[in-house]
Assembly symmetry: C2
Homo-oligomer: 401 residues x 2
């Protein structure tokens, strides 16, 4: 996002020119927009669940990567969060956050940045699943003379990394960490829950996630090792879990924005989606049934998560600038700076002149958000506006690694 020019061209209509308030009609497209009202609602919903389940909520900030968005997670205080990069850890530490988990397996080259943060008073938990990693983390903690809290990653569903709860090596890794004062706990992530298409499957995935984490913790405790933290979570399981006995904390990230994949799973409704991309109509191909926009994969990402769902949503569903869904209009193709909209289910494409602004709801909020340097913020609590929604803030993103 570059700064938009302050004046509107004479040939275009903009509600902002007369009133002076900047609206979604003003910045040059494409750009990302966040509805803070929906963010607040999504955040409150999971917060209430975590309170009811009696666990600490440690949101993953990898989706929004925004200090402004994060300020809504814990009522403005710098509470516990999960990060996906050391760049996020450093940005959040600089903003006063002191309780972080870096939920990607640690490797030796990244240890100095971890140590530097710990020396600044940040509790930064690292993640690992091998004797090799436990050994260099323990050595680094001893050498630096600081505590380097580490969590052992547990694999609950064959999704990615981690040790199975019954892995023979688990107690040994726990012992190496414990002896260096590093053992903080266990962590698991039900990544396969993104493929659970019914509420019952999601509840089962949540139970399985809990069971795996608790079983791993119990094995370590049976070996005489204290396990303060038992961490679970994914957006689907966090919203499905009915019992987290033995778990101490819950993680989820996507829920702050939600997206079409989550709506397709039934975890949220379409009107919970807080992130969209504003695009402009730049052409028409009536002979093909296409409207062409200036929002391509550079603005939306190449993510096609709903292609694996019963209802494929292409590159996204289309709304007007107010956020009202235009039924059965889908972004079906993307090149770098071009998006193609088509009608489905026999719908007729609306007549949208060149210059018309629309919003596109993404498949995968984490991926779409990552295509932007920040977000224009609107507050949907005000309801549909007479003119284009007013921009109330700009939230920059943390970028890079």
């Amino acid at each position: 996002m570059t700064t938009a020019p302050s004046a509107c061209p004479s040939a275009s209509a903009s509600a902002a020119v007369s009133s002076g308030a900047r609206t979604l009609a003003d910045p040059d497209t494409p750009f990302a927009v966040v509805d803070v009202h929906r963010v607040r609602r999504n955040v409150a919903r999971l917060r209430a669940r975590a309170d009811r389940l009696g666990v600490v909520l440690r949101p993953h900030v990898k989706t929004a990567k925004s200090l402004d968005a994060a300020a809504l997670l814990h009522d403005g205080s710098p509470g516990p969060v999960t990060v996906s990069t050391l760049a996020e850890a450093e940005a959040f530490a600089a903003a006063g956050y002191r309780d972080l988990t870096y939920a990607v397996g640690i490797e030796p080259h990244k240890v100095p940045r971890v140590v530097a943060l710990v020396r600044r008073g940040v509790t930064l938990r690292v993640l690992l699943d091998s004797t090799e990693q436990a050994t260099f983390v323990a050595a680094a903690a001893r050498e630096a003379g600081v505590a380097l809290p580490a969590q052992i990653e547990i694999d609950c569903d064959g999704h990615r990394g981690g040790l199975r709860p019954d892995a023979p090596g688990l107690p040994g890794i726990g012992r190496i960490l414990h002896d260096a004062g590093c053992l903080d706990g266990v962590l698991t992530h039900a990544g396969e829950s993104y493929h659970c298409h019914t509420a019952e499957e999601q509840r089962a995935a949540a139970r399985n996630e809990r069971d795996a984490a608790v079983a791993a913790a119990e094995r370590l405790r049976a070996a005489g090792l204290p396990v303060p933290t038992v961490s679970v979570g994914s957006t689907p399981t966090a919203h499905a879990a009915d019992d987290l006995t033995g778990v101490t904390e819950l993680r989820a990230g996507n829920y702050v924005f939600f997206d079409l994949v989550m709506a397709g799973l039934g975890v949220c409704e379409l009107d919970d989606l807080a992130l969209s991309v504003v695009v402009t109509v730049i052409g028409h191909r009536p002979e093909y049934g296409w409207i062409v926009t200036d929002g391509g994969w550079m603005a939306m990402s190449r993510d096609r998560g709903t292609s694996a769902q019963p209802q494929d949503q292409g590159y996204g569903l289309v709304t007007d600038l107010d956020g009202t869904l235009i039924p059965d209009v889908v972004m079906t193709a993307a090149s770098q700076e071009h998006g193609t909209l088509t009608a489905r289910n026999g719908a007729v494409l609306p007549e949208l002149p060149i210059g018309t602004r629309l919003r596109v709801l993404p498949n995968h909020a984490c991926a779409t958000a990552a295509q932007h340097q920040g977000y224009q913020v609107v507050d949907g609590a005000h309801g549909p506006a007479a003119s284009a929604p007013v921009i109330t803030a700009y939230w920059p993103r943390v970028t890079g690694w």
Copy 2:
């Protein structure tokens, strides 16, 4: 890309510690790397073709989005280029480029930024394919009292935007532009050539692209309208064209880096690929046959362009840190910050300890490059190094719109 810490952790091996030279073993992973030797070779190849074909080469800078990379396109001079965003146009104009084509359909809101560049002495051609657009461009040129050169987009293969060369409205659009002093020419892009899997199909696509552009220009000329520019190009057709009679300029962008999609089409060889992503091994799942790295879709993009080719290359092919291919090891899965490597064709996964650095060759260079703020640059002309390749420069990217 954040700035990497200057010191390496004691637990990791880095060739740079003793010598003082920064190498690919130094910045924290993941990061993008460009082999400038390959860029030079790729640039020289198409440059020689354009010279032989007797056309101006107007490279598309949307792939690298780098002033440093662009400096190699025209032997260091700010020659003609194509841009995909006004942010690129502004960055290149600020660096002294005066001959730009903005190859995405214009809409009214973007006109003031175009006018501002033109007033700074930049020739910035805009693209359009409708009477509506021609009318507001002509009006804006008259109102601003400047020339706003415009090209009419021609559709040669049903790929995206444009008018068919025989479209009834073509001369009328040309007339509106001509009367306002705006008619610069016609432009077409054989986007469907990315699906031409044989050299003969690519030659046919190049002939078709030329024929469409020339036919459109001839129709305008027959209506008494001068057409100075006849612009064609895509990376496959630019490398396949054997006759560009009637064409004045050739565009291509991807060729600067090339990628697995282009290699799959036979447009280049694997050792022409100039862009890769350096990643680090962070885990092993021998029970699944997986090596886990810290390079996920955030570093590679979600682009899976080769999935539509006879040989699907997953999220990318894997090389060692020197760039030597590790046969039959493929990045087969990606989450945000995790990549999964697996072996295919019965190959055995190599033993790669935690901390091992690898490079991943991407499906689609434009998309992968877009995930990064810039490139670490190495010079492969030096041949395989005894230690990790030395970093010779950092090239920042132009971001946003």
